[in-house]
């Protein structure tokens, strides 16, 4: 039977495994890192989750996030409000960081997931697959919506003593989105997609 090699990214152990892998996880015998986690239905689940995440992202950024009332004054905030104020005050480093980690990187990731799993679900391997997978791999550590959610809870507790906090529609959408994106990260397995890239390369080579 044809074999292929897998190298553990944590400890450098080299494994020889059968070319056609059955379902299930493959653990590194030396260090215990999960190297492969072939799951059935990954493409379908990812397609559904990325559609959900895209809709929730639009809702989150369109409607007000939190409203705050203090003695006759009301302010509404959504994602962009804080970024606009930060830039206005000259705190551009913090502004860029908040913009990148809570808007730009998550949006790019959702967009890439959607444009990968949409066509793949319909049996087409898009020509930008390699680029999309590379960007997904590099951007992962910089998507921080889950951390932002904790920041929202802390701010609410801080502000509750100063006035009235009214959660907006988009706060609920945002909370669901954080869970959807966490689920995406658990389900997402780039390995079968890289194998599809390989397959296409082999076919091209033969033609």
């Amino acid at each position: 039977m044809a074999e292929k090699m897998v190298c553990c990214h944590e400890c450098d152990e080299l494994l020889h495994i059968p070319q056609t892998q059955k379902e299930g996880r493959l653990k590194c015998p030396r260090c215990g890192t999960v190297l492969l986690r072939q799951k059935k239905g990954m493409v379908e689940i990812m397609y559904a989750l990325s559609i959900a995440a895209a809709i929730l992202f639009l809702l989150t950024n369109y409607f007000p996030f939190l409203s705050f009332h203090v003695v006759g004054n009301t302010s509404h905030a959504n994602f962009m409000t804080s970024i606009v104020y930060l830039f206005g005050e000259g705190d551009w480093l913090i502004g860029i960081a908040v913009l990148m980690t809570t808007v730009v990187v998550p949006l790019i990731r959702i967009g890439l997931m959607l444009s990968l799993f949409g066509p793949i679900y319909h049996g087409i391997i898009p020509p930008y697959t390699v680029l999309a997978l590379k960007v997904l791999s590099h951007s992962l550590p910089w998507a921080m919506l889950d951390v932002f959610l904790v920041g929202v809870f802390v701010s609410m507790v801080k502000l509750v003593k100063m006035g009235t906090i009214v959660p907006g529609l988009s706060l609920w959408a945002f909370m669901v989105m954080v869970f959807v994106m966490a689920a995406m990260q658990v389900v997402f397995d780039p390995h079968p997609l890289w194998e599809k890239v390989d397959e296409r390369r082999r076919q091209k080579g033969m033609a």
Binding site: E13, E89, I94, V130, K134, V147, V150, V154, H191
Partner: protein, 214 residues
């Protein structure tokens, strides 16, 4: 068998196993599948990680001394550092929030730096001990790093909501910028460290035992 013994390694993006040429100086090797640069070990991993760890220790001082947030009211300006924020929550009885901030802003960055220093020192001493545990510690530093951003986000949200044109204003303090830099620099430090170095002592041990048997 470890890949380095065959001059092979995995591409850090697509995990393709790549064989590298025996002689260095033949230019960079690109992954045949995704085109990313491939190295047997991350180049200058230990030096870069040390430099970034030291930089974050230095940045961590102004991050704690300078205010994260300045609240301006008619009564005057009140500046809050990380610690005074934690104390405020403790005094007002919000123990859960106090511990969230304490863990995210103080425990997480310090733990991360201590783990990275331990990993660097143990790798430089070629320690053969606790390899699995050290691998777990490394995975932990990668997981917890971004959670330190909580306090920076709190400042950003407070600025957006407490904005009533002159009446009460909240501004980000310089401490917030330094703290943001601590988070980013420690995250890059963890990325620069090559966990495979933890296990590389075995090549040496094997060579030594081979030499002993001969």
């Amino acid at each position: 068998m470890r890949a380095i013994e065959l001059g092979m390694t995995n591409c850090h993006v697509c995990n393709q196993v790549v064989k590298l040429p025996k002689h260095k100086g033949e230019g960079t090797v690109l992954c045949p599948r995704c085109g990313e640069e491939v190295h047997l070990r991350k180049p200058n991993s230990i030096q870069y990680t040390w430099a970034l760890v030291i930089a974050s220790i230095i940045l961590y001082i102004p991050a704690n001394v300078l205010p994260m947030m300045e609240v301006e009211t008619f009564a005057g300006t009140q500046a809050d550092t990380i610690i005074s924020g934690v104390i405020y929550f403790l005094e007002t009885g919000s123990y859960l929030i106090a511990s969230v901030i304490f863990i995210a802003s103080i425990i997480v960055p310090i733990t991360k730096l201590i783990i990275l220093i331990y990993l660097l020192v143990s790798v430089q001493k070629k320690s053969p001990l606790h390899k699995k545990k050290r691998k777990k510690l490394y995975v932990l530093t990668e997981l917890i790093g971004k959670w330190s951003m909580v306090d920076v986000y709190v400042v950003a949200i407070m600025i957006a909501l407490v904005h009533f044109g002159g009446l009460t204003e909240i501004k980000a303090g310089d401490g917030a910028t330094y703290f943001l830099l601590v988070v980013v620099v420690t995250m890059i430090a963890a990325m620069q460290f090559d966990p495979k170095l933890i296990w590389d002592t075995e090549i040496q041990e094997k060579r030594e035992t081979d030499a002993g048997n001969a």
